[in-house]
Symmetry: C2
Subunit: 212 residues, 2 copies
DNA sequence: CCGCGACTGACACGACTGTTTCAGTGAGGC
DNA sequence: GCCTCACTGAAACAGTCGTGTCAGTCGCGG
């Protein structure tokens, strides 16, 4: 059995967590079983036993990374104000999470998985890119007024917000220029065609504190 | 000699071109000399002789891809109108290029190189991400009024435009949804805080013809 | 003709890949 | 005591990787 149950064994989750930390540092692209096993205090034999194959291991790691991401999305979803301007507030919260120093490794991993999933749709990362687009769009949609979130304009709007966030993220990951990218995001969010004419202040996230 | 002269031999450019086409199809991540050599009608021995090492080959391929990109940027730079609204016009032109079906492979390769350059700053792709950010920002800056392009607001603005373009590109590459992403880009460009109050029409690029 | 430089083929080297085979551990339930 | 089951170690498998070695084939200028 490949031990892919709904209730993974304690050892399996323990090793997955260690492997996840390892991958956050070293990336997925040239992941190799022997160095990984050595780093997490195990052996290739055990990893293969627990995850069935390297394919399975990578899928588990990707799922683990996505769990971190979905965790943020859920938290935003709870705190997220609906109604006009809600989209801007949520986007601002998301950006302050994306911009946080301690999430760089995760987000770099995210970009890596995204790229691989574009190039090689048969690998373990198959569908990863498309899945995350939908995840994020869904959260942004939840921040829009329920009465109009189904319109084409609202769809274009959340697509645009997602684009700004991810484009700025790419920039930030490459240059590390937090100030410039944050200014760009805030400027673009402030310029959003807000249907209710309700302009939220741009200063709320400048300092970078995530929680209220 | 590694044949890294300013005037590469005919055979070298010929093989580079063939390898470039191969890489556009198969990606850079798991590029291997033997399959590549077989595909381009050569041998690993020759590739190594001409490019010195795999490292050199990949660098040459990345430079080749960047040349394609800079080609676009130069063309846009020539046609680009300066003054207020020029940024929007240029961004619209760039998007219609990015969105074109025949550039998908190149842009996927671009994302791949970008991701690798983030993860592993010592590989052949070192500095690739940072370099492309600067390339694009420079072109967008050239489309801004010379008197104000040095201001922080102008910098934030072109950073924002770049973010929209690249974020929408990520979305497009993953979902293939040309309509939604294009609508988002046009909407976001139209919403730009245009300093002259000069709103350019959004309809000019809707059909998607690049050249005038 | 001769030699020189660009290019190429065949092959082997050592290192590394994911995966398998065989042989065990040790703890918990009967 | 014993049996089962989750887990583990050592070693080997067949394969691919980038690279190096030795040799050879062209065309072209002297």
């Amino acid at each position: 059995m490949t031990a892919e149950d709904a209730t993974p064994s304690a050892r399996k989750t323990e090793l997955l967590e260690a492997a996840y930390r390892y991958v956050l540092e070293h990336g997925l692209a040239d992941l190799s079983l022997r160095p990984l096993a050595a780093a997490v205090g195990s052996s290739p034999r055990v990893l293969l036993y627990l995850f069935g194959s390297k394919h399975g291991l990578v899928r588990a790691l990707l799922a683990r990374a996505r769990a971190d991401e979905l965790d943020l999305l859920d938290r935003v979803h709870d705190h997220g104000a609906e109604g006009p301007g809600g989209l801007v507030v949520v986007a601002g919260q998301v950006w302050s999470w994306l911009a946080a120093e301690e999430h760089r490794a995760l987000l770099t991993l995210w970009v890596e998985g995204y790229a691989r999933s574009l190039v090689d749709p048969d690998g373990p990362w198959a569908g990863f890119a498309r899945a995350t687009v939908q995840d994020w769009l869904a959260v942004l949609a939840a921040a829009q007024p329920p009465t109009e979130r189904h319109t084409a304009a609202a769809q274009a709007q959340r697509t645009a917000v997602l684009a700004v966030l991810r484009g700025a993220l790419l920039d930030l990951l490459a240059t590390g220029d937090l100030e410039r990218t944050t200014a760009a995001v805030h400027q673009q969010l402030a310029a959003l065609p807000s249907h209710g004419g309700h302009r939220p202040g741009t200063g709320h996230g400048q300092g970078g504190t995530t929680s209220p």
